[in-house]
Symmetry: C2
Amino acid sequence: MTMSDVARHAGVSRTTVSFVLNDKPGAAIPEETRRRILEAIDELGYRPNAGARALAANRSGWFGLITEIVTGPFATEVITGAQSRAWGDRRFLLIAASEGDPAQEAAALDQMLEHRVEGLLYATTWHRAVTLPKAAREVPTVLVNCYDAEGELPCILPDEVSGGYKATRRLLDAGHTRIGFINLDPAIPAAIGRREGYERALREAGITPDPSLVVPGWATADSAYTAACELLDRPAGDRPTALFCGNDRMAMGAYDAIKERGLRIPHDVAVVGFDNQELIAAYLRPKLTTLALPFEAMGTKGIDMLAALAAGQPLDTRQVTIDCPLLERSSV
Amino acid sequence: MTMSDVARHAGVSRTTVSFVLNDKPGAAIPEETRRRILEAIDELGYRPNAGARALAANRSGWFGLITEIVTGPFATEVITGAQSRAWGDRRFLLIAASEGDPAQEAAALDQMLEHRVEGLLYATTWHRAVTLPKAAREVPTVLVNCYDAEGELPCILPDEVSGGYKATRRLLDAGHTRIGFINLDPAIPAAIGRREGYERALREAGITPDPSLVVPGWATADSAYTAACELLDRPAGDRPTALFCGNDRMAMGAYDAIKERGLRIPHDVAVVGFDNQELIAAYLRPKLTTLALPFEAMGTKGIDMLAALAAGQPLDTRQVTIDCPLLERSSV
DNA sequence: GCGCTTTAATAACGCGCGTTACTTCCGTGT
DNA sequence: ACACGGAAGTAACGCGCGTTATTAAAGCGC
């Protein structure tokens, strides 16, 4: 089933069929002819060949998305966002996983370039600096949830500072004044930014941040359990009445420490998480109030930026930050 | 950068370059010429155009994967499995989400067919019957985690019966004889199969299944909490010493009910889950022993079957079931 | 009737590549 | 001297389509 078949069946030339299919502006096609062609298409069950079309038009319609792990709650949100947005532009997304292996990453990139992607999204599971293979410069590239170590490529990042601020502010608004912060590895951008927001919110409320209330965890429930025990076992009066946790898994560990002591959430101790991992946050008892990393929004924004770049438009900002929304549940 | 450029640069014809690139059998290419060509490719940074190649060879190299939700822990495992397996065959996966909307599903299918996919994988998030649009018959199609309501398309399903059997067997082996079963909606295939396995294991151990020990939950932690309370509040001696839960979220609810009563896991009550949702199973305290749905394996198997179908080979079995592995952690 | 513009449609080229059929060159055997 | 076979390489076609000239017909004013 090719366009020629349709043309023959409708008694016109292939060119005319092409004009109709593409709504070619400037082409004068009487209604009667157009109808005959559409009918023929329908009767024959003709489907345009996307590959041939791309070749002739020199426009693949592809965007590429490379990420470390396709599995995992974060990457999938980016994919969802990017996918749906790309779809709206009648584009397709080529998805590949590097599995954290530079060789696979290079292979994926090669494949993308061989498929003539018009733009590339590169997403990581956690906020950090990256260095891309040189080949990535051959095509417009946007980084998602990471930034170029060489500072050249445009990137989209979550607003960690505002996230930390909002979490703390929510607890302050609920009347808490001693707020423990079980942070992530203090060396990573997420931990640095959130702590900055945390301290700013405290100062705005006239509270001097107490460094001993900030303890590092290592992203696991167990480490957070230990950290929470340390905070909760302080002498009464000095004990925090609220815990802000670096992620939801850590909040899970904090829950255990709190419950173990016969304390109640949120009555005795309020908890705020981070990441909004649905499986945890929505099923913990009580449900966890947490901040969402805007992965889906970052994905859609990424496609927007790529579309602009691919169309030759310059970017207004090289670095975009996106807000982390606060999701109210029942732990505050 | 096209093959012609490479040919010119190497002082040979385009045909020769093509022969070298494709290792054409029967083509006599002296080592010296081959070297010159590869050098030229390298110097010019030439990349074959996958689209043009597909057009000429009439072989797209694409497989399609349609699923309800790209986000979500299950679909991503299928994608991972299918993706990695497809990659091994030097094929690419086209992924689309239907979002449960028939219109989007049809649109996705259209796009896939326009891109001339050589095979189609259709995956659902839960085991059930489906009916595909007629267009899906235009290309080899394999169902994953679902089966054709009309019984025509080949499918890959998890072995629910063996899963239920293994869970129960594990608890029997640990010495439990009164095993409560908080099942899923009793009308769905997963619930039916697992119950069958549960009862078979009991009978094999010489125990007559007690129907009052099987209570339905509705897939949520809350409903399982209620169900667990009902089972645990039976008079001592009649109370089950182990709970087999229809999924990990339900196990989460059961944990709460158990802990609330001052009972200890696994000392007083053992728990086995189902689904192996990493975020829950690996972070509950104690870690949850559970059965994994073999999504990744189903994905790879799906690509295998598609590859066979696309190559024109007949399938040996129209319905394949894949085992659910038991993951030992600390709740038994 | 003749020029001119607009409408309707087409022939023909090229996109980058796989593939077939064909040519040229060289060494060998008789 | 000639036919012959293999090695090395190429011209040319076609894949399905977008696009640009170009043509043919129709409408219009005089």
